[in-house]
Symmetry: C2
Subunit: 281 residues, 2 copies
Amino acid sequence: MHRMRARRSHRFHHDDPGSESDSSTPWTASMRHKFREENEYRGASFWMDCYEKVSKTAEKYKRATEEHKREIEDLKAKNFFLRLWIQTDHDDLGGRSHDPGFSDVVLFAAEDGPNGGQSKPVLAHRAVLASRSPVFKAMLEHEVKESQSNTIKISEVSYDALRAFVNYLYCAEAFLDQQMAYDLLALAERYQVVHLKAYCEKFLVSKLKWDNSIVNYAFAHQHNAKLLLKAALSLIIVNKDKLKKRPEYSELIKKDPCLVVELLEACLAKQENTACSTGTI
Amino acid sequence: MHRMRARRSHRFHHDDPGSESDSSTPWTASMRHKFREENEYRGASFWMDCYEKVSKTAEKYKRATEEHKREIEDLKAKNFFLRLWIQTDHDDLGGRSHDPGFSDVVLFAAEDGPNGGQSKPVLAHRAVLASRSPVFKAMLEHEVKESQSNTIKISEVSYDALRAFVNYLYCAEAFLDQQMAYDLLALAERYQVVHLKAYCEKFLVSKLKWDNSIVNYAFAHQHNAKLLLKAALSLIIVNKDKLKKRPEYSELIKKDPCLVVELLEACLAKQENTACSTGTI
């Protein structure tokens, strides 16, 4: 029995590492430790054999790593070539901005509120806006007001966010903090810039914690950010006992009670599932 | 002595695989075979130890491979986002072309020769041309003839090559054969599109053989393609005894005797170097 078990785990350990099934191969230190324990009675030739097989595996991965490195260098060079940017003196953009030369359209941010007004202009190119956003494309191709006047007014956005947004359309780069990620995700959803939306969502998920999970849940719901919504919901469900103490929760009840109903229903469903699987119901 | 040698090669084999010095680590089958032979007198615990170390190395490379794969996916998505192209029905472009929407400049190919004339127009955008090529930038920013008329005439080029060239400026993609690689490299050098030049040069080097080495040498010299020049020269030097029999050689003497002088001087220098190192002089 002991021998059989050992043989089985030996075979398991040496599954072809390049194959898809490799994801289940036990590469962790604890799995190796177990494998050693199970086979420690074996002789030098067995371990020499194991050494040889794993060496081949390591070699295969090493070659793959080298190939990948070359591919990454090529792709980075291609990205660099495809960007449309110039060097600037603006520190907030890391010294880079999109190139406003030969621009044929001007964007203005129009912030709401008592101090709201028209911002400084952000110069751009119809071809680039249309290429990156199907919403801009439709807007520019059809003779709407914006198209005729060569001016596009973007409401409910700050100048800085609009500038970062347009910059992203040229360079696929943005320097995010929490607020900028919210602003850019909202713009990306509005103008259907899928790549930017995914970029912001990934950032917000990485910054997710219990303290900001309710705010993020409401935000994700409003802007159709499914990944963020799911991640925030998971965090809220884990902390559901503390939910009523959070001020954001009370605010959300006032602002959007239907969303709170959805949230509580999800908590309940999860509770029932857990109860069923552990057999307490 | 036997033990000392074995210990040294053991240490050598287990250099940190992540470090720079790893390039010298003997990962080949023959090196492994030698290592086994040198250490075959050793016991199970030695080989168990080797197995453990190489497993860790394999794990490290496996993790690197997974990280690289994710990075490659991200970079590919970024590339896709940064391209400016539309679907087309043209099979020669693999169903893709740059988007001529909102174009503000028109390029024409002007082929030389008895049938030369003005080609079909290739629509483009000043912002893109200027961003990809410092020559176009200077041409468009200063009030030269082309800039005023919104028309740029490109001499000594076919319509197909011009179209592929402009397409590359938008998508960083081209479908190359030998002739197209020559045409695009010449254009890339003329308009200083470094990325395209490197792409064509790599392709031409990969297609290099004795049969086309003289033609490639002359071409590389004419268009300042250093990598191709070096590769072609190496091939010519290896086959220098057959040089005089090639018709391209006689043609080159007529067309550019100075270049043949350079070529022969390089052959001679190589011969002297080889003679010195083998001690025949």
